[in-house]
Amino acid sequence: MDWINAIVQGTLLGGLYALFAAGLSLIFGVMRLVNIAHGDLIVLAAYLGLTVTAALSMNPFVALILVVPLMAGFGYVLQRGVLNWTLGDDILPPLLVTFGLSVIIQNALLEGYSADPQKLNAGAIEVASANIGGLAVGYLPLVMFLTAVLVVAVLQWIFYATALGRAFRAVSDNQDIAQLMGLNRRHVFGLAMALSLAVTAIAGIFLGVRTSFDPATGPARLIFGFEAVIIGGLGNLWGTLAGGVILGVAQSIGAQINPGWQILSGHIAFLIILAVRPRGLFPRMDG
């Protein structure tokens, strides 16, 4: 029963990892940008949630109404003000600039909120659970997982059924020709980053409600998100969800064997999949 429980809890945790990963996957798909600061942006969203909930004394999930647009706006400005200037054939500039951004965000958070761990308080939902077939399934993990499924479904719909998604795919295929269609790629990239950080906002709030966080929490979130993307296969959003679940299950099985092995076993599962299936389990795009 312990093992089944570990697999169920791991699957639900995988939803959170998919939320970490979805924004990363999205911007890689549109502009081949790997955002090293992605994890720190998730933590930034969590802190933003902290400030909003404290200032307006509201539930963190209600605070999403403010945090999502704020992060999206920040994403658009960040893309047009900084990141657009780094895009080109050379992979170094975007990598190093987002790396610098990561250090800046971490230390700015340290300055603003100190190194003390913080947590978002969502009330009763945090401890409530349902008994399903003898397993205690927490409402929070369940909501987290269903949110991840919903987010992936919405992103999938935007990508394949809307004019915005068509613009994303066109710019991703061929930037020059997309410009000839009247698409301003700088604007399209800005919108992609805005969407990515909107998802990041949701991920940040769930992170903050689930566990405590501090300014140095970001990099590990980036790595979990990255592992989910690679396990699932580049450019495949449903694959990313599957990747998150595999990572979550690997971690909770590891933790079941030895509490110290939780994170390590996730990394090892990732490396094994990388060795056996270098393009991930459900690849759709070349790296």
């Binding site: 940008l33 992979i91 990598l95 190093l96 610098g100 340290l110 990255f226 990394h267 990388l274 790296g287």
Partner: protein, 342 residues
């Protein structure tokens, strides 16, 4: 009349000749530092040499081989733990352990490269980070090495380095100076070797290089393994200076990769002079802004971003564009033998 008759091809310039003479003099003066410098200054210089070495090595990877790693802390930490494990459990003299760390680092780098070379570009970068995390979490599980809280280098191991504290400080200093000089010499000779030329060709045009029959994968693999071995070596010296190791300190992405990247980017990526300039700039900034704490890191990150956007070739690139100066005789230059009369 062919071009060969009218032009001469050369590598060594007056500037590079002067630089090599000055460099040797500087090396001699620095080697004598234990006789004319205080203990604190010696320690600072030692730290500078070690950062210079890390910067040189990262520059070889990212600036020449196009392998942008953000996981070199894997090898720094490995070097530290190799030193501690071999001296404490193997009973080896620290010198032997430090020497062996090169070999061990290179051997570890081989399977790591085989695995993460499957990832491209930026994903390669994060892949290297995952490896470093695996090392960190792995060493935290080894209770003999202090587990998650760490371990100190035993007094008798430290004593075996030299008699008396001053002599030990001096020995430790010379090791770091020798390390920086050796890494610079190796980087220079490597870039002049067949592999190094292949690397430069790949960097300048991967497609053309492969059509010339250069095995890109193999060239990059060799660089990765050599740099892995040498970074492990630097790591063993870093923790010989610190005398204490813990997984978080050993595999710190900020200390061993972020700073190093900033040094190389600010100084000038893809040149041998860049890391030197960058190291000097980094320590000048650190010594002046150290009181600011985390603000200092924000400033550093902002400077690195600004440099990357405005002057991607760094401070050295700016100097070079203005003066055409070159201190390391790498690559050839062509100039007319005499001014042509029209």
């Amino acid at each position: 009349m062919s071009v060969v008759d009218t032009h001469r091809v050369f590598r060594v310039t007056t500037a590079s000749r002067i630089a090599s003479v000055l460099g040797l003099l500087l090396l001699l003066a620095l080697a004598a530092a234990p006789w004319w410098m205080g203990r604190a200054d010696l320690r600072l210089l030692g730290e500078i040499y070690l950062y210079l070495s890390l910067a040189m090595l990262w520059n070889l990877l990212a600036g020449y081989a196009g392998l942008v790693s953000v996981g070199q802390q894997a090898y720094v930490g490995l070097g530290g733990y190799v030193l501690f494990a071999l001296t404490i459990f193997g009973g080896l003299h620290p010198f032997t352990a430090i020497g062996l760390s090169v070999v061990i680092g290179a051997i570890v780098a081989i399977p790591v490269a085989a695995l993460i070379f499957r990832l491209r570009g930026a994903y390669f970068a994060i892949g290297t980070w995952v490896i470093a995390e695996v090392f960190r979490l792995g060493f935290a599980q080894v209770s003999a090495l202090g587990g998650g809280s760490g371990i100190s280098l035993p007094v008798d191991v430290v004593r075996s380095l030299a008699d008396g504290r001053d002599a030990r400080e001096a020995t430790s200093y010379w090791l770091t100076l020798g390390c920086a000089a050796a890494v610079m010499a190796i980087a220079y000779l490597f870039l002049r070797s067949r592999n190094g030329l292949a690397l430069t060709a790949i960097r300048d045009n991967e497609l053309a290089a492969s059509s010339l029959g250069i095995d890109i994968w193999r060239s990059k693999f060799v660089v990765y393994v050599v740099v892995g071995g040498l970074t492990t070596f630097v790591g063993s010296l870093i923790f010989l200076q610190k005398l204490r190791i813990s997984p978080d300190a050993a595999f710190s992405v900020n200390d061993w990769t972020a700073y190093v990247i900033f040094i190389v980017v600010i100084g000038g990526i893809g040149s041998l002079e860049g890391p030197i300039i960058g190291t000097v700039a980094f320590f000048l900034l650190r010594e002046t802004l150290a009181d600011l704490g985390s603000i200092y890191l924000i400033v550093l990150g902002a400077i690195a971003i600004a440099v990357m956007l405005v002057a991607p070739k760094g401070l050295w690139g700016l100097v070079q564009d203005l003066t055409g100066l070159r201190l390391f005789p790498l690559g050839y230059r062509v100039e007319p033998k005499q001014s042509r009369k029209e």
